[in-house]
């Protein structure tokens, strides 16, 4: 047991909040929705998040940042086997985004005005992802401008795969597109490594 408190701390509500924001968006996720999603009354939510919905979203984004940092960004940067690290990244994002059934909350809220309050975090998330992937590609022997371009296209490609798979209701489309991205990334390294 790493914590003295056994349940119902602020952090344990965050995953349910994240899922509700993903499914309904920031404006669509009313406090009634968030209350049902977490199983907590409005009073409890405001006890944990005095800043209301905006603070809830901030907590969710922080949680997402932490997860990606440990599961995606850091492994890419510390990779001893860059090709394996790329493969692992694709596997992790495929599981995380549930083959496109689960949207990328960071990407989604960046698309409309409700995300203006989080613009900096959104920008840093994508910049960080691209930088970490480019780092990995450089470790795999890809020269500098090409690494940045390949990384940008791969991260963009994953986002596009989510949009398309959701729109078509076709998880296979997500898998095809990200597998193709994986091939391009690894192919780029083999060609120069």
């Amino acid at each position: 047991m790493s914590s003295k408190r056994v349940l119902t701390d602020r952090g344990s509500a965050v995953p349910a909040l994240a899922e509700a924001f993903r499914e309904h968006g920031f404006e669509g996720a009313s406090l009634t929705v968030l209350s049902k999603a977490t199983g907590l009354g409005k009073g409890s939510l405001y006890n944990f998040f005095p800043g209301g919905k905006e603070e809830m979203m901030e907590a969710v984004l922080t949680d997402i940042d932490t997860w990606f940092e440990t599961a995606i960004f850091s492994p890419l940067e510390r990779a001893t086997d860059p090709a394996a690290a790329v493969t692992s990244m694709i596997e992790e994002v495929t599981a995380y985004f549930r083959s496109g059934r689960r949207v990328c909350l960071v990407g989604c809220i960046g698309l409309n005005a409700s995300g203006a309050a989080f613009a900096d975090r959104i920008r840093r998330y994508f910049a960080r992802w691209i930088a970490a992937l480019a780092d990995c590609l450089r470790a795999g022997g890809v020269t500098d401008p090409v690494a940045a371009q390949l990384a940008e296209e791969a991260v963009s490609g994953i986002q596009g795969a989510i949009v398309l798979a959701r729109a078509l209701g076709d998880e296979a489309a997500f898998l095809r597109i990200v597998q193709r991205q994986q091939s391009i990334l690894i192919g780029g390294m083999i060609a120069r490594g």
Copy 2:
């Protein structure tokens, strides 16, 4: 003059509605927002669209379908010069999406629960785009399964470019990514044409 009525018909409000839905999303676009965007009072909006917001969105989606059919899908299918048709498609979508400053409404509303009522239209929009582009690629000599895959990846790539460019606030990123998609598409045709 093709019409007897000179102004304030239902259709003339649609572009402003579309822009409001793009910027705020379906839930975020309140009737107050839509009223200000169109310059029409709520009463006038309900006079044109008795079904409320949902009918407004339907009208917007129909307008988008019409535009894409004439500017994108049909030219792709009727292309005598497939490479030129692909180049034209990229130019048109770059202008239409304002280098990623303007989001794809169809893709956006497909991402959360508010788009459930329009799921069929969303699916058909993307299926139609991919099919038309694959048609063009086949006319350019690309064999069947490859054409479908390249078309899927290109449409997905454009959507990803919008998400990334919006998130980074970087129009240049959009341009780089779609130019790359154009190269892949035309390269695929040259390799087999």
